[in-house]
Symmetry: C2
Subunit: 139 residues, 2 copies
DNA sequence: GCATTCCCTACTAAATTGATAGGGTTAATA
DNA sequence: TATTAACCCTATCAATTTAGTAGGGAATGC
């Protein structure tokens, strides 16, 4: 299951992308429009800022903005920040590889074999999708 | 992340498929060979039996066996039994569809749009993979 | 009748998730 | 320079899920 954190994060990014008029967007505005608990959203946007996807401005008329064009923001990056590793098991993870304690030989492991395929196909989707795709309303 | 339940279940199924010599395979044997807590494995195999994937025989020389040929056992079925819905959000699930409370229009929802693609690509893998594929050692 | 093996229910510890609370810091502007 | 609007940060917490344990019941084969 997708965590609420990721769901909210994606919705917020989409909202910001659709609002692009140079003005930063405030947490309170997004929270209200997307029906997300404001404090929870604050912490999510903070994570996105720390990861470099969002920028922020404090004080009056402050808020969050995208650091790059929506078409430059790939889902691989967004999903890794929000949801963590894309692979369903560490032994097939590109960025967080870890050997299984059991499992003497990965190449004989049926779980590894299956999850490698799942990872590849999911990765293909995330690599080919940007925030611009998510925020476009048509198609 | 893949749950241990699913991981253990897949390993056990693979083990049984590889052992096929008409004799049922005992939980204790699988547990020892695959390093799975026996009691936990018992409950997993029970689930697989109740779902119709495995059959069982009680008493001496009893154990679990496949109800169908490995090449007939699709990962879509196995994964749904072990891990639950394949979709990451209920609003794109084929078998467990549920509307989001928020989200006035699914077709405008960026999360829906993305997760629909992920579901389709994952489903394609699971539909094209059977237990026979998992248990074959070559390739 | 006795060992073996699956069957079933209940319980529990640990981790994760989805928040909430409460205040601190920075920036604009009157 | 005081005020207010906004982000920033840490701590805490309840609910849920996960991973596993305990203990015995029921069927089968010898």
């Amino acid at each position: 299951m997708l965590s609420k954190k990721t769901k909210y994060g994606l919705k917020a990014l989409t909202y910001i992308a659709r609002s692009e008029g140079d003005m930063p967007v405030q947490v309170a505005v997004i929270a209200k429009s997307e029906q997300i608990p404001q404090k929870f959203l604050e912490s999510i946007l903070l994570t996105l800022r720390k990861s470099g996807i969002l920028g922020s401005k404090k004080g009056k008329h402050g808020g969050y903005y995208l650091r790059h064009e929506p078409s430059e923001i790939k889902m691989t990056d967004v999903m890794r920040v929000l949801e963590g590793p894309i692979a369903m098991v560490p032994c097939v993870s590109l960025n967080y590889y870890e050997k299984c304690d059991d499992c003497p030989d990965e190449h004989l492991c049926s779980v590894n074999k299956l999850m490698l395929q799942v990872r590849d196909s999911t990765l293909k989707v995330f690599r080919n999708t940007t925030l611009a795709d998510l925020s476009s309303t048509n198609e």
